[in-house]
Amino acid sequence: MGKVKMTAVALVLIHAAWAVAALVVHQAVLPTPWAVYAYLPQLARRQLQWHLFFSLYRLGWSMVIATILGVVIGIACVRLPRVGRVLDPLIYLTYPLPKIALLPVVMLLFGLGDGSKIILITLIIVFQVIIGVRDAVRQIPASVYQGVAVMGASRWQTLWYVTWPASLAGLFSALRIALGSAIATLFFTEVYGTEYGIGYLIMDEWNRLDYLGMYGGIVVLAALAFILFAALGALEAWSSRWRRSA
């Protein structure tokens, strides 16, 4: 259980750094950890479970859609070279577009509800998944394909027996990056048309200059993120058992 111990060490470190910073800055903008934790029960009474639920709901759908699209497009970019040669510049041209600028168009098409939020988060993270998967697939050496090609594997079989397992580690890496981005994006999607969501909660507290509440929300969010990252890690460990015997 060295992992648990080390996580504890990390927690202590992070709180120590926070405490020191808070004491040095000594301003309301940066409250001390104990003040924030003392405030947490109060925050919990404010329907925290629903804030969590709605954020998770939006995150979940975006991650699922972005994963599916990202895997399909990322693989297609490499395995269908003609498609890839058109998609690559398309990705580079569209990835860095300010998604915030697309807000009116997204709202026009998907309204103010969860739909537009999910689409927006997806738009932001799908490129990260695409690029991660594509680069991982690109790194698979040709020799790995040779074996199954000689055995007469079809396109789909090649995908299933080679491309997918060989790029899985890259996919998980991309999903980790995307998950972080998606969470960070909540602050920009949960500020309209909703009164629930951790992002909303934090922004709301911020707008009230209630830094205790804001940092309380951030603590909850960090805990949530940690759990999600741990889940991703467990999924990866399970799906790449074969690496363990190396």
Binding site: Q27, V29, Q47, W50, F53, F54, Y57, I100, L103, P104, V105, V106, M107, L108, L109, G111, L112, D114, V191, Y192, G193, T194, E195, Y196, M203, D204, W206, N207, R208, L209, D210
Partner: protein, 296 residues
Amino acid sequence: APKESAVQSSGSAAAPKSATIRIGTMAAPDSLPLYVAQQAGYFKKHHLNVKLTAFKSPKERDAAIAGGQLDAAVSDAVALSTYVNGQLGFKSATALTGYFGIVTSADNVKSVADLKGQAIATMPRQTPTFYLDQQLAKAGLKDTDVAIKEVAAIPVRLQLVANKQAAATILPDPFLSMAKAQGLKVIAQSDPAQYQTTLLAVDRALGQNQAVMKRFYQAYDQAVKTINKHHASDYQALLTKQLGFPAKIAAAYQLPHYQAAQAVPTKTLKQAFAYAHQTGILKQAVDASDYQLQVQ
């Protein structure tokens, strides 16, 4: 997944078949009559099915307007000029009761005139800066006499002044009250009875539907009347939940005297449009009165 409205304690029951208006609100006292009318059932009484959507910043509100998701929105004179520029077809319906204050943390700034040479945190080309310009002009200063620090987010502006990284900033409520609570000095504040720059902008279809507008104004006026008979203490829930007031601030808050539905003074609107033209929002001079609806 459950719909959010199912979770909300204040979820509205199914309204009778009536005109539906989607209104975007901001977390500011300007929006209070809308919430009161909604809560007290005034809208329903006037056969209006009003859906209020709260926005945290003007940017998302304007995106929702541009995205066709709102029929009306709590907005302001300079923002209206951007709608004109963006050809969104929105016009000014009624003025709303809102106000700005200029706050400072600098000990040597006692009045607006003392701002000369000081750093002011604000977002240029928006109504608060328009207000600042006017106040500076009154004090015999030009906008080049002060150093503008462009900062979009209001809480950040307030923080900058509190940290003395800027001498002053212009704030609407509830930030104004929060600034006061932090010990910042207010050196100027607008009086909503005379100076109104916040307004309800409505889209073309709604603006032309005079019957609905009329019912809307009736509901609005009823809400205003009700509010003026009450005190802030009667609206603590609304103030804290919908209008973004911290509980402590809300408790000490004094409601302004709300004005019945009335058009924004044409003069103010014209000045705002002139400001918009001068700062490059409007490419050419636009007659403000073309974007003003009569309030009967």
